[in-house]
Each structure stands twice: as structure tokens, then as C-alpha cells.
């Protein structure tokens, strides 16, 4: 089934060079740096101190609130430090540094839950939390919070997001292709967690092999549908994926549960399947290390806390003309100035651009071409929002729909005058958010 495309969006060069490359499992590194906040919400409190011996899968950070997720040791060894360390978000985060003992010894408490199909919904949600699951597509929102919607909002559909509309990235594609069984098992467990009658796996139509694979795997499961989405950025954004599948729009300021849906990433589901089958929590993930600045681009399975430089070295290192490091996709990912920062739960990859690719032209005057208006999937007027933001007219920006922006970056991408529209909009949003917090 082919679903209606959304209004607007854009078609960046896909650059998915690694789409055909099988996942390579990287041996556990000699050292990991595990930040105690890898999710949206409250940071975790450390449960270990320097000198402690830890085992693979052991909880080393306990949630600091409801919107938070536990953090586990991704290797076994000795805690070298518990200290603030830099992360690619630009924030220093209290982190646990573990020196490996080279044995990768599993914590004895890690037990499979083969009988999950007999478990209660609440039990499954507890397991989601125990697993330390957060949205692995990039947002990093604690998954168990998503799966605890208000009682008056029944969930009719769980949607697994396999759109992977960001250019360059192919980790979700490889997971769907190579670990289709786990993706489907994870989805079934997610559906059970909220008693959802229907499940969807939504994939952009540029990943025909993954669509075929999952269609075959789900042939005997009538409650699960594989959805072919049009390939167009940002089709994988939550609002647009729900609109494509259920033809419902999340009301302004609302949440997916308001329209009876929960959206989760395919890698998140596969990780949860691992947890049910082996007891292993979220201590590893697939990342795409790619871009013209990487010698041998690859899809890797790495332990959380592996430094980006270790992952890059596994891919032959950087080219001499490497000039920009982007963590995640090039449309929404942050850039960072070096590789000495760890891969976290929501890190989908590393994109290294060359000098020529990273060169940005000077912005010139807005010519009101309207291309940003055409590209905005949310019906906003990015040119006005950008102007208001630059002039400090935050109230006017708010009236024009500032807080409805999902920060996909289409406006900046299409702007022929290279105006930093998203940058201005994000700054204005941050101001509004800060003011709202103050009350």
C-alpha cells in the first residue's frame, strides 16, 4: 500500500552509500564514557564510584525522575572516573568512565523473558523501562513514558518508524533488513504494552528490500501492516508519519496519544526484542559512520559509550580533507569540533563532510521567493518567523506559529539566499521555552 505524501518537504541528495553494507560488529572497546543523561528528561544518579568493578549490563545510573531512563554499563571492567565529560550536544554531562577488563562479563541478573506474551501490559512497560529504552532515532525520549499514555486516550496503533528520511543514515535500513524478526517481535511487544489492535511499520519506498523482507516476515500477522511511504524529507517526523498512515493530525501542541497513536523507531523495537530474548538492556546500537570524509563508510554495531574516534578508526579513519563532523543526520544532527565524545543511545551515526561539502555561502537578503513556505510541512511561514526572531519580536513569532515548528530544517535547506532560518527559529523557541519555565 502506498500512502499519500505530505504537503511540502524537500528532496536532499540521499547519499546513502552504506545502504548495501551489512552491519559489522565492533569488539567491545578498551574504554567507554557513558554519560548519565542520554535522554530527554531528568539525568540519572550514579550508582557506582571510581574503583568499582562493573559487569556488562549492570545498572550504573538510576533514573532521576519519571521522565528518565536507567543507564547500564556497556562493558565489564573498572570504573575509572565519575565526572562531567563533554558530549556532542555541547553540554558537559556527568559520566561514568569504564576501563575494560577485556572479558565482557555479563551481569547475572540479565535474564530473558521468553514468556512475555503471557505478561501483563504493565509488566511490559516496566520491562521497557528496565531495558533503558529511549527513542533511538535521534530524539532520545524515554520510551516507557510514551507507553504510559493517559487512561482516557486509548492507543489504536503503534507505528514503527523506519522511514529513515535523513540523508546518509542507513542504520535503521540495515536493522530492518538484517533483523526483521526482532523488529517485528519488538512491535508485537509494544502493541501488547498498550493493548493496541494495530501495528504499522512505515518505510520510505527507497528501501524496497527492507519493505519486501518485512512484508514476508509479517505475512502471517494480519494485525501488522507494512507501509510504503513516499521518499521525501522529513517523512519520518512523528506528525507526518501519523498523518500518512492514519490520516489524522496531532492537534497543535498535542501528542501522538491525542490521536490514538504511538510512534517508535525500528531500532528501538529491535533493541527491546533483544532484551526480551536475551535480557540484554540497551548497551549497544547500530550506527552509520559515513560521509565523503570517512575512508571506509560502514554500518557498525557498537557499545554505548564507544568514542566516535574509535568508531571512525574502525572505518579507516578520516580523509585528509575532512572538515565537519555531524552526529546524526545532516538535516537535524548537531556538529561537533572533535571525535573524543561518546556514542549515546540516540546516536544514529557520524557524517563527516569534506571541505567542499562543508563550505557555507554568506547569507544574502531574503527575496521572498516563498520556497521556505512551500517546503514547510507544517504550514508555517519560515521567512516571517526568521525575520521576527532576528528582530527579537518573539511575541509576533509566537503568534505566527513559532512553537509549531518541528525543526526539520527544510526552510534553511531550500533557502536560495542561505538565510539561517531554522537557527533563528530555534533561538526564538528556546527563549519562549525559558520564559515559560520561569512562568
Amino acid at each position: 500500500m502506498h500512502w499519500k505524501p505530505f504537503r511540502g518537504g524537500t528532496h536532499p541528495n540521499p547519499a546513502k552509500r552504506t545502504a548495501g553494507l551489512a552491519i559489522e560488529v565492533v569488539p567491545p572497546p578498551g574504554k567507554v564514557i557513558i554519560p548519565l543523561q542520554q535522554h530527554i528528561g531528568a539525568p540519572c544518579k550514579p550508582l557506582v564510584k571510581p574503583g568499582d568493578e562493573v559487569l556488562t549490563g549492570q545498572v550504573i545510573g538510576e533514573p532521576g525522575g519519571f521522565v528518565s531512563a536507567p543507564i547500564h554499563a556497556s562493558i565489564s571492567g573498572k570504573v575509572a572516573a565519575v565526572a562531567p565529560m563533554p558530549t556532542y550536544t555541547g553540554q558537559e554531562v556527568l559520566s561514568v568512565v569504564i576501563d575494560s577488563d577485556g572479558r565482557d562479563q555479563k551481569h547475572p541478573d540479565l535474564t530473558p523473558h521468553h514468556t512475555w506474551e503471557q505478561a501483563s501490559s504493565k509488566q511490559i512497560v516496566d520491562w521497557i523501562k528496565e531495558c533503558g529504552l529511549v527513542g533511538m532515532g535521534g530524539a532520545g525520549f524515554p520510551t516507557h513514558v510514551k507507553f504510559a499514555p493517559p487512561a482516557d486516550k486509548p492507543i489504536e496503533a503503534v507505528i514503527l518508524n523506519g522511514a529513515e528520511c535523513e540523508p546518509y543514515l542507513t542504520c535503521d535500513h540495515r536493522v530492518m533488513q538484517e533483523r526483521a524478526d526482532k523488529v517485528v517481535l519488538g512491535l508485537r511487544a509494544f502493541m501488547k504494552a498498550v493493548n493496541a489492535p494495530a501495528g504499522f511499520i512505515a518505510i520510505e519506498d527507497n528501501k524496497a528490500d527492507a519493505i519486501d523482507r518485512l512484508t514476508r516476515v509479517t505475512a502471517s500477522l494480519p494485525q501488522i501492516k507494512i507501509v510504503r511511504l513516499h521518499t521525501r524529507y522529513p517523512q519520518g517526523e512523528e506528525r507526518l508519519i501519523i498523518k500518512a498512515i492514519l490520516n489524522r493530525e496531532i492537534p497543535r501542541g498535542g501528542l501522538p496519544a491525542d490521536v490514538g497513536a504511538i510512534v517508535s523507531n525500528v531500532s528501538t523495537a529491535a533493541t527491546f526484542a533483544d532484551f526480551l530474548l536475551t535480557g540484554r538492556p540497551l548497551i549497544q546500537r547500530i550506527v552509520t559512520i559515513t560521509g565523503s570524509g570517512i575512508v571506509n563508510p560502514k554500518n557498525l554495531e557498537v557499545r554505548i559509550g564507544t568514542l566516535l574516534e574509535d568508531a571512525a578508526r574502525y572505518c579507516g579513519g578520516l580523509q585528509d580533507n575532512a572538515a565537519k563532523l555531524i552526529v546524526g543526520g545532516p538535516m537535524t544532527g548537531p556538529s561537533y569540533y572533535d571525535l573524543a565524545v561518546p556514542i549515546m543511545k540516540a546516536t544514529a551515526g557520524l557524517v563527516v563532510l569534506t571541505e567542499a561539502e562543508a563550505r557555507k555561502l554568506e547569507p544574502i537578503a531574503c527575496v521572498s521567493c516563498g520556497k521556505c513556505v512551500e517546503a514547510c510541512p507544517y504550514g508555517l511561514l519560515p521567512n516571517f518567523l526568521g525575520k521576527y526572531a532576528e528582530l527579537g519580536r518573539i511575541a509576533d513569532a509566537e503568534k505566527t506559529g513559532l512553537m509549531d515548528c518541528r525543526e526539520c530544517g527544510c526552510c534553511s535547506y531550500v533557502c536560495p539566499s542561505r538565510r539561517p532560518l531554522l537557527h533563528a527559529i530555534k533561538s526564538a523557541k528556546a527563549e519562549v521555552a525559558a520564559r515559560r519555565r520561569k512562568g
Binding site: 555531524i326 538535516m331 561537533y336 537578503a365 504550514g379 536560495p416 539566499s417
Partner: protein, 326 residues
């Protein structure tokens, strides 16, 4: 490899379609029309175009130097204004006409308002309007291409005309239709073997350039389609030949290259349609009831004035907004 890599905000990639490139592509799209002008009216046309473009670029550079602003002549917008202005002029104009027109267009219609992106009216059309108001005689002295002499004789010999052939030979097809009810056949109108402004004579050349801009997604097809469609439909209703109205005069030049000017047209899709329909209505009204036989220039200028209002009235629905509730 750098010690520290460059950090910017996202997105980190961008389209290759830059404003500068768009300006150059629009000029490229005007190449067929310019070449047709040279073909039909001779090499002097090149001088008119050159004077207009050089004057426009120099005016912009001098003003920006004088005001100690960044010089932006390399963005191509001033050169494009000069080219567009030249294409609206009769082939017979003395060369100071394009010079003065271009200076006025850039200085008064563009830089006074703050330069690129800030002008409410299409500078080239303001330049033309200024010239028409100041030197009406020079701006309405037409000539037919040499290759059209037999057509002129044929038109002069028709029963409907009692006037001498020099009247015919100094009038545009629209003027002939309005004052003498002589209709120039469609074929020369299409190829451009007629009297008129430099850039408006060859419908074929304008269509080729316009289609190029639509295919390259530089202009929104809605504007020319709605503009031309409105003119055609009203011509049909009022029992005139719609094809004649489409091919004669400055309509194609206006619909593809003037009404689609980013700065002075609406930014919303719906707004562009309304804008273009308005321009179409005005054009046919001017042609029918106006003092002149042509009305494209003023129609677009008047709609330019409404563009911000149209934008305000056609703000798109925000995703998730329920109709009837804000």
C-alpha cells in the same frame, strides 16, 4: 585535517539553487527573447540592452558605495532589472532612454526601499512606467521588422482600413486591433514578425524561456497559468480572440518574467493564484477600456501593491489546526 572541526547549526547541507544562480538562469531564459529582438530589429537592440544593464548595475554600485553599504551587484539582480527594462522598450528609443529608465528603476524603485528584497514594486516595470509617463512619444514609436513589409502592405490593403500604410507601420498589433479593428494573423504574432517592444515580439521565444523557468522550478507555474488563463477566459466571454490576446503585446513577457518576480509577488501558492487572476482581469480591462492599447505593466504594478495584503489573507493552515478554531 583541522585541529578543531567547524561547528555550525543544522542543517549542514543546502540546495545548490542560490539566489545568484536563479538571477543568472532568468537572464539565460531571456536569451531567446533577446536574440529574437536582435533578429527582427537589428543589432542596435544590443546597444539598448547593454546600456540598460550597465546603467542598472552602475547605479546600484554607486549608490551602495556612496552609502557605504556592501556592494551586491554580483548577485545579478540589478543586471536582470536592466535586461527586463530593455525588453519592455520600443526598438527605436534613443540610448539615453534605457539609461535613464535603469537609473530610475534601481535608484528610486529599489535602493530607496532598501535594496534587494525590500522593494514593493517591480523595478523594471517602474522604470518603464516612468519613461512612458515622461516621454510618451518616444515610448510609443514603433517599427515593423523589415521581414514584415509584405504583412504590413497586406494589412494596409484590407478593406477595413482606409488609412495610409504608414499608420499601420507605426502601430503595434494591439493598437491596430483597438483603433482600427485590424487583426494581425496569429502566425507572425507567434514567431515575432511584428511591431512591439524588444522582448515582447516573439511569443515563441518567451514561451521557451518561461517553460525553462517552470521546469527548473525557478518560477511557480501558477502565476503564468492563472494570469494567461484569466485573460483567455475573459477574452472568450467577451467574444474576442483569446489566442490573439495571449500572443499580442507584453502579456507573455509580463506573465512569465514580471509577475513571477519573487520580491513583488505573494509568497503563498493560493496568494499567487489570486495575484495572477487580478493581474489578468486588470490587463484585459486596460486593453479594452484604457487610454492605451496595452495594460500589462500597470496591471502588474497595481497587483504588486496588493501582494502583502494577499499574503496576509492567504496564510496557510498550520498543521493540526482545527478549522474554525485558532
Amino acid at each position: 585535517m583541522p585541529e578543531r572541526f567547524v561547528v555550525t547549526s543544522n542543517p549542514h547541507i543546502a540546495t545548490t539553487q542560490t539566489t545568484e544562480r536563479i538571477m543568472r538562469e532568468v537572464m539565460l531564459a531571456l536569451l531567446p527573447a533577446s536574440a529574437a529582438a536582435v533578429y527582427f530589429f537589428g543589432w542596435r537592440v544590443l546597444a539598448v540592452i547593454a546600456v540598460s544593464m550597465v546603467a542598472a548595475v552602475c547605479t546600484e554600485a554607486i549608490i551602495q558605495k556612496a552609502l557605504k553599504q556592501k556592494t551586491t551587484i554580483m548577485d545579478g539582480s540589478a543586471a536582470l532589472t536592466g535586461l527586463l527594462l530593455a525588453l519592455t522598450l520600443p526598438p527605436t528609443v534613443p540610448l539615453w532612454i534605457p539609461a535613464l529608465g535603469a537609473i530610475f528603476a534601481i535608484a528610486i524603485a529599489k535602493q530607496v526601499f532598501g535594496g534587494l528584497g525590500s522593494n514593493p514594486f517591480n523595478p523594471a516595470l517602474i522604470g518603464r512606467a516612468f519613461l512612458t509617463a515622461s516621454w510618451p512619444k518616444l515610448m510609443s514609436t514603433w517599427k515593423w521588422p523589415h521581414a514584415a513589409q509584405s504583412l504590413v502592405q497586406q494589412l494596409s490593403a484590407s478593406d477595413a482600413v482606409s488609412a495610409a500604410s504608414d499608420v499601420i507601420s507605426s502601430a503595434t498589433p494591439l493598437e491596430l486591433a483597438k483603433s482600427m479593428e485590424v487583426q494581425v494573423p496569429l502566425e507572425p504574432l507567434f514567431w515575432g514578425n511584428i511591431a512591439g517592444s524588444l522582448g515582447e515580439v516573439s511569443a515563441m521565444a518567451l514561451l521557451a524561456g518561461g517553460l525553462y523557468l517552470i521546469i527548473r522550478r525557478i518560477i511557480d507555474w501558477r502565476i503564468p497559468v492563472a494570469y494567461l488563463g484569466t485573460v483567455a477566459v475573459i477574452a472568450l466571454i467577451s467574444r474576442q480572440d483569446p489566442l490573439f490576446h495571449l500572443l499580442a503585446g507584453g502579456l507573455l513577457l509580463g506573465a512569465f518574467f514580471m509577475a513571477t518576480d519573487y520580491v513583488t509577488s505573494p509568497i503563498t501558492r493560493k496568494g499567487r493564484v489570486i495575484f495572477a487572476i487580478g493581474a489578468g482581469l486588470l490587463t484585459i480591462l486596460f486593453r479594452r477600456y484604457g487610454a492605451n492599447s496595452e495594460g500589462v505593466c500597470y496591471s502588474i504594478l497595481i497587483m504588486n501593491a496588493f501582494a502583502p495584503t494577499i499574503d496576509r489573507l492567504t496564510v496557510p493552515r498550520i498543521f493540526g489546526e482545527v478549522k474554525g478554531r485558532a
